[in-house]
């Protein structure tokens, strides 16, 4: 069966960083081809190259019968390729039918829009997608994420897509909706549509995929028929068996419990999580995307205050309703999205460094600029930030150095609990090692660190204990000795401690 799309030897770099290395990938009609890999593996770039958003640096792409060096959005449309992205491109105030057909609506003889045909066809498409309960006249803004996704799929079908790329389609869905989506995907496959299914979630992949391709660090690890793999083998392909000894971990000096969390809940994103964090400890928090780890952090930090459960610091119960409160309690949060949440890019290193601790550099109500610069210099030296000086604009620094500035900012408040969310994402290997060394040192000095990470080697290398979350719940707690790629990987996929600690 000839492929709808075939990529050959495709490579891509962004700003000097190699994101895809010599990858082969093809999609056949009537198959579900799963694309698997951790964050940063290159999945997103690959599908964007197919959809025509990016052009590869080398390699060829065959769309139908044409061999191209790069795909334009028009080539993609002609080739019947449609994409459903994670951030849905819909119009909340318009109806479902109109959203499905916007830009390519059926016309009447007079040239005006044929609403009847639109509504009728939208109804048909939605019925085919097993959504008879979705009202074509409902305003999209009132619908849940699961339903909106279905509309995006209907949109793709309305343009006669022969190939559908779905990017993390179940990331934001509840279990029941996931099942319905699986059914939809199967139907489409049976109709002959070729589907690229990008996901982390192993159970889903085993349920619907015909073939699976694993990427790791931009390289193709392998493409296999689903019958030839198991969960264990996939996890091994995803994370690799070697645990790099890049993590010089000094002997931890673990003290008393500083943070105790019981039954912490936030809506349906964080469900009854309980754990303890001790001084001098690095507690790794692992889990797949959507497991609720960042949501847990945001709840501890006061951005989305808990709806149930208790938090105790030093044995005293506290209520954390805002970042200011969290800060005054000694909790610091180095966020996942440092560009949006961590830094004010147009401002200087000094200004960013002092932002959470302005009280330390003020005399009365006035800022002492010299003190600010001095403290920034100290921070630069201690963290090894490569910059021209405190007066350099942070936006000009590299990713690794920007991350150090964010870390420096929070160290200024002399925190007792440091939450780091994906501390080395998007950072080159050298800076990674430096940040890990810093974390080790901080822990030695008595800081309690909660480290959220999607990189298994990092979790396994740095943590004294590992917590694993899945679907908003804490699935298992593993000691450093018990934690390895199999146990953690299995827990990430949903297995509980009893299944895992063999």
């Amino acid at each position: 069966m000839s492929a709808l799309v075939a990529l050959s030897g495709v490579s891509k770099s962004f700003a000097g960083v190699r994101v895809l290395k010599d990858v082969d990938f093809d999609v056949r009609p009537g198959e579900v081809h799963a694309l698997l890999g951790e964050n940063g593996a290159g999945k997103s770039t690959l599908i964007k190259i197919i959809a025509g958003v990016h052009a590869p640096d080398s390699g060829t792409i065959r769309v139908g019968d044409e061999v191209l060096k790069a795909v334009t959005p028009r080539d993609a449309a002609r080739g019947g390729i449609a994409t459903v992205y994670q951030e849905l491109l819909l119009f909340p105030e318009l109806t479902v039918a109109e959203n499905v057909f916007l830009g390519h609506a059926p016309r009447t003889g007079l040239g005006t829009l044929d609403w009847q045909a639109m509504r009728r066809t939208a109804r048909q498409l939605l019925d085919e997608l097993d959504s008879p309960d979705l009202d074509v006249d409902a305003k999209v803004g009132t619908l849940s994420v699961a339903n909106r996704q279905r509309i995006e799929i209907a949109k793709a079908l309305s343009q006669n897509a022969t190939m559908l790329i779905m990017d993390e389609p179940t990331a934001a869905l509840a279990d029941a909706d996931v099942r319905r989506l699986m059914a939809v995907v199967k139907r489409l496959r049976n109709r002959g549509v070729g589907i690229v299914y990008v996901s982390h979630k192993l159970p889903e992949i085993f349920e619907i995929a015909d073939r699976v391709t694993v990427l790791r660090d931009g390289a193709l690890i392998g493409t296999r028929p689903i019958a030839e793999v198991s969960e264990a083998s996939l996890v091994a392909m995803m994370v690799g068996r070697e645990i790099d000894h890049l993590f010089p971990k000094p002997e931890p000096k673990i003290g008393e419990t500083i943070l105790k969390v019981e039954g912490l809940t936030y809506g349906s994103r964080v469900r009854g999580v309980s754990f303890e964090l001790r001084r001098g400890e690095i507690l790794g928090l692992a889990g797949l995307v959507g497991a609720g780890r960042t949501e847990l952090a945001l709840t501890l930090f006061g951005i989305t205050p808990a709806t149930a459960g208790t938090i105790e610091i030093d044995g005293r119960p506290v209520a954390i309703a805002s970042p200011r409160q969290a800060r005054s309690l000694g909790i610091a949060y180095v966020p996942e999205d440092r560009g949006l949440q961590g830094l004010v890019k147009p401002m200087t290193v000094a200004e960013n460094t002092s932002m959470a601790a302005l009280g330390k550099i003020t005399r009365g109500i006035f800022i002492d600029f010299r003190a600010e610069a001095k403290r920034a210099l100290l921070s630069i030296k201690q963290l090894g930030i490569r910059t021209r000086g405190p007066a350099q604009v942070v936006g000009q620094l590299s990713g690794g150095n920007q991350q150090k500035v964010v870390l420096g900012k929070w160290l200024e408040i002399a925190p007792r609990i440091l939450i780091m969310d994906e501390p080395t994402r998007g950072i080159d290997v050298g800076a990674k090692a430096e940040i890990h060394a810093l974390m080790g040192r901080l822990a030695q000095e008595g800081l309690a660190i909660l480290m959220i990470s999607s990189e298994l080697p990092e979790v396994l290398g740095m943590s004294d204990r590992v917590l694993v979350m899945h679907g908003g719940r804490l699935v298992t707690t593993l000691d450093r000795s018990e934690a390895n790629p199999e146990t953690v990987g299995a827990a990430m996929a949903g297995a509980s401690h009893s299944d895992v600690a063999a």
């Binding site: 491109l89 819909l90 119009f91 909340p92 105030e93 318009l94 109109e98 916007l102 830009g103 390519h104 609506a105 016309r107 040239g111 005006t112 829009l113 609403w115 509504r119 009728r120 109804r123 019925d127 085919e128 097993d130 008879p132 009202d135 074509v136 006249d137 409902a138 803004g141 009132t142 619908l143 849940s144 994420v145 909106r148 809506g267 349906s268």
Partner: protein, 330 residues
Amino acid sequence: MTESTEFRAHRSGPARCVSAYGQEIVIACALVALFVVVSAINPRFLGANNVNTIVSGNAYIAVAAIGMSMIIITGHIDVSVGALIGVLATISGTLAVSGYPVWVAWTLPILIGAAINGVVGALVAYGRLPSIVVTLGMLSILRGGLVFVTGGAWINNLPPSFQLAQARLLGVPVPIWFMLVLTIAAFLWMRNTAFGRSLYAIGGNAEAARAAGIPVERRIVQVFMIHGAFAGIATMLFATQLKIIQSTVPPNLELTIITASVIGGVSILGGTGTVIGSTLAAVLFAAIGSAMIFVNVSAYWLRAVIGLLILVTVLVDMARRNREFRGSQR
């Protein structure tokens, strides 16, 4: 799942209509209620002459609000339209007294209005300047320019044939015809053409609109030009009401027009609303203004009432959006 070729709608036609046009129905009801209440207090309110004055005399606001609604639906705003109407009125009058045929005096301002606003649209779309600031600047250019050029002089000696607003067609005043025909035509156009729908798309999610292939920048310039043309038509109805043309316009005309749109259901955040709502709202204001006189409430409180209505409408709109947003996050 269903083999039937017959299309099942979830809700009946009338029910769908009500939920889609809620705001418009609210205004219509408010209008009726106002008339009922006020004429109970003072029966002369319902007199044919008064109703005629209310609707016919303010029809030009409704017409201008059609163009304004389109602008707001795309997510922009124009605070210079009042001054534009003033300028176009003077141009119109000047043409009339200078011996040009009356129909030229009526229609040339439409083209000029489109041209001026086309420039504004280009600055907003291609210059990427916020529409509030551009139109704020345009406001003073037009307002100041008008007085500067005319020296504050009024235009007299208008030929009687100029007074279009006083004419009647089949017994109904011409402005009312314009208002009704244009509102319905614009409504149908915005509802049933790709161009009209693209305005809602741009206002709702400009990025998604671009992804769907809509030429966003070009549309913005076009809609500003259309809005300028509607301002020109409104001028036709405004300038021809009296035997003279002043060198100023009614104070804060642009605010009244914007308010008519906003209260008529056109959300200031863009992407929703209809011109039927804005027309009804324009009539409602005129009625409120007149009612206040008949009920012996000082007309000087009218602007405060308008301000309050804007705030209430916007707060309700924001509350609805916040609620929907939170609901869709579950």
